[in-house]
Amino acid sequence: MTDHVTEPVLSVDDLTVSFPSEQGRVTAVRGLSYRVSPGEVLGIVGESGSGKSVSSMAVMGLLPPQAKVTGSIRFQGRELLGRSDVELSQIRGRRISMIFQDPLSALTPVYTVGDQVAEALLVHGAQSRQAASARAVELLDLVGIPGAARRAKSFPHEFSGGMRQRVVIAMAIANDPDLIIADEPTTALDVTVQAQVLAVLATAREVTGAGIVLITHDLGVVAGLADRVQVMYAGRTVETAPVDEIFYHPRMPYTRGLLASIPRLDTGPRQPLIPIEGQPPSLVSLGPGCPFAPRCLLVIDHCLTTEPDLAPVSDTQRSACHRSGEAAPPAPLVSGVECYNTVSHSRVVLRVEHLVRHYPVRKGAILRRQVGTVRAVDDISFELREQETLGLVGESGCGKTSALMEILNLAAPAHGRIEVLGTDVSALDRRRRMQLRRDLQVVFQDPIASLDPRLPVFDVLAEPLRAHGVATTEIRRQVPELLRMVGLRPEHAGRYPAEFSGGQRQRIGIARALALEPKVLVLDEPVSALDVSIQAGVLNLLSELQTRLGLALLFVAHDLAVVRHIADRVAVMYLGKIVEIGPINAVYTGPQHPYTQALLSAIPIPDPAKERARERILLTGDLPSPADVPSGCRFRTRCLRYAALTPGLQSRCEQEEPAREQRGEDGHESACHYATAHAVL
């Protein structure tokens, strides 16, 4: 940046966007104003429905025609609102470009990626087709696609999600734009890939010198990348400030609530989270007061009648709260969630030994023959004790869900042994299996898809009870109790799942799982579909229920921060194997396996100073296909420790598969020939 005051590259003033809906007009953005300077990264943070994506689509002029947009969007001094599609298409992709959330669907499936990148050049320049193709290869190389010249001829489906997002970034920087809008660019990606893509985004900023609008719900991502942060709620900015101010001196209660509600990797386990109670407001009919007032702990009468303006609280910080001028905010009250467990000597409720799940890969339409094996779960062993929470973490495709399904099957696995409450499941007959199912229940990831939309909540909860022959009078007594237990009201029993929010639906899912009073609860990514402020409430509920009911939880997640928060022990999976397992503190503070270290290092921490000081271990490449597992140690193709070894030492990794060995106290085991503990947080 230059010394003199730079003209903002983008200034949005009093932007309002509304859509018609069946309930009435939804005002998704209500008078939004912001500026982005050249080379600046503005982070826009907010939960789903806060209007952050809609406002950026308005800047791109890509909202559907039924959207009504008013206000002003000036790009380099030129007004964009009201321009025709043809005029905007001169600017889109050349001066302003955009990176989208879901890389899997962002590319046209029928054209090669090289052609799609070249197209971005061809529509804006008089270059020849050959020159555009050559430049496309350079761009693909720049964003880190190995063998770019060859890969340019591949189709999108031949790339992984992370690689596709690189292609989208290559497209976005093709014409050296002045502004890049990145809408949740890493939300759909695994953490190690997220770290890679964020690094590419940082490169893109250096190469183009563009201003970047980074839209995300992940405060960790913002902490590491943004210069300035703007927090949105109910279609408006509620707080904006330089990144450090937002994280260290938040003034608006919503910002503070967000920061308090996210589980963090860098704090000890079992710190109670502070959820923001209630739901974001409906944008159809907003009352006169502050939209956050119903959820706010600091609410005063004035809040209910007048919506606060975004007012300066310091030179650089502005906040929309009537009480932002007050000195120290009182600490919010926390309902005590004390749940330190002493579990080391209790009974084992689930024992998995050498579990294997392979899927054959077949080919041919008439004569089907096996051409390979997907080694989804390849010899895993672990124990889960009474009242204990074991977190099972790993990236997508590592076999977490396959392992879960195999356990829930309650049938003899192809190889290995599964023991539930001391009973070997291979020895069960139908009746005994049915009985054992009562003790092993499951909560699924997607709270929308896992509840039958045509069943009222009462029936959803009564169904497992009826299936196990519980008397009707008893069911009538139990259902209201279950609802109370998960923080819902008994009168909710008559409603249908569609009438509940995501977090409430997940509570219903938990209540259904608890109906039969199980000993073991299996949770498959139970909070990954929820907004952070809602997620905290569900996590607290789980902790509380565990303490009260003495449940053992097998908690599958890809979010290591969530696992640190809730689990007592953690098992890290990579390509169908558990590479490290141990007590939560030991694994998080002294990870031994290089994969665990990379995984922990890849997760952004919502703390700008820590983020800046951190040294990232960036894994190269993608997860290998589980159908084509590398010889010896299966992590060696991406392992930095292996790469640093002398060829003599490397050969051991290539030939010998490392066994899991205990290398620390309390059963901290890892599967690496050259394991050394290395703190990365």
Binding site: L62, R92, G93, R94, M98, A106, T108, V110, V123, M171
Partner: protein, 324 residues
């Protein structure tokens, strides 16, 4: 890929044989080809009937008759009708008539159907979309013989209004037409207009509905947004990225549609006096002629399976995600 397509073809040959055999057997069991002869007044002598019986091999078991007929087919001889005419010559003529009749109508039906479908999708819930929907349901719920008759009537009125014959509605060309090459072509075209419309209208109605929903699926897709974000105008993004993708599921429909149309157009052929395959099939049934019925069945089977094969090839060509 080549191996896969070759295996598919081999599979199809078996299916064709099975279909033809079933039609042949059904015909042989239910037809009484001697009935007409026996029903004559005065009745022909028993020796004549016996001779016809021997000529048609009616005493042999059906599988043996089928094998004998099929043996001929392999060498390009489809046998003869019960009146003794060679089927092979007739087949060529009939297939030619059908092809000339349906080729233009089908191409027109597909092209206009796709365009109407795309336009409806882009302008969803606008007046033009409702108009297209109304047209489609109207055409689809009107029997084809009514459409044909109405078109014929319309042609007649047009001719009356013009005072001369602008559009013909019977046959392929004017009998005994004299004139140069261009004049002959013009004559044939003016015979083709009404039947082509009859065929195209129902195809447009059908394909536009499918294309509309395929296009609607694509309209909300992220890659269309990406294309626009790159700097393509909405129109260009819609056609280059949207339509190309939305055409993929239509490939199967087009391929099979054509295969079935050639034989399904009985009414169109009859109304406009074109003696093609559909008409021939009805004639074969009326005449109790097993060989004609079996030949038409074989022709249809080959056409349908070829369409299937063609749709596989089209699919593989249109969609890089499909690798056979």
């Amino acid at each position: 890929m080549t191996g896969f397509l070759a295996r598919r073809l081999a599979n199809y040959v078996l299916l064709c044989l099975a279909a033809t055999f079933l039609a042949f057997a059904l015909g042989s069991l239910t037809f009484s080809p001697l009935g007409q002869l026996q029903g004559r007044n005065p009745a022909p002598p028993a020796s004549v009937i016996a001779a016809k019986r021997a000529e048609l091999h009616l005493d042999e078991p059906i599988p043996a008759r089928f094998v004998a007929w099929m043996g001929g087919v392999v060498h390009g001889d489809f046998g003869s009708t019960i009146t003794g005419q060679p089927i092979t010559d007739e087949l060529g003529a009939r297939a030619g008539v059908s092809l000339r009749l349906f080729a233009l109508g089908t191409v027109l039906g597909i092209a206009v159907g796709v365009l109407v479908g795309v336009a409806s999708a882009i302008r969803q819930y606008k007046a033009s979309d409702y108009a297209a929907t109304l047209f489609s349901f109207l055409v689809l719920s009107t029997p084809v013989f009514l459409i044909g008759t109405l078109l014929k009537f319309g042609g007649l009125r047009l001719n009356e209004a013009a005072g001369s014959t602008v559009l013909y509605y019977t046959g392929e060309f004017s009998p005994g037409f004299q004139g140069g090459w261009w004049a002959a072509l013009a004559d044939r075209l003016s015979h083709l207009v009404l039947p082509t419309l009859a065929i195209a209208l129902s195809q447009i109605a059908l394909y536009s509905r499918y294309q509309r929903s395929a296009m609607l699926d694509v309209l909300g897709s992220d890659f269309l947004r990406t294309a626009q974000a790159k700097g393509l105008t909405r129109r260009r993004a819609l056609f280059k990225h949207g339509l190309r993708t939305a055409l993929i599921p239509m490939a199967t429909l087009f391929a099979f549609g054509f295969g079935l149309l050639i034989t399904g157009g009985v009414f169109t052929e009859r109304i406009f006096g074109w003696y093609g395959m559909g008409d021939w099939f009805i004639y074969g049934v009326q005449q109790n002629d097993t060989n004609i019925v079996a030949t038409v069945t074989l022709f249809v089977a080959v056409l349908v399976l070829f369409s299937g094969w063609l749709s596989d090839v089209l699919y593989a060509a249109l969609d890089p995600r499909i690798r056979l």
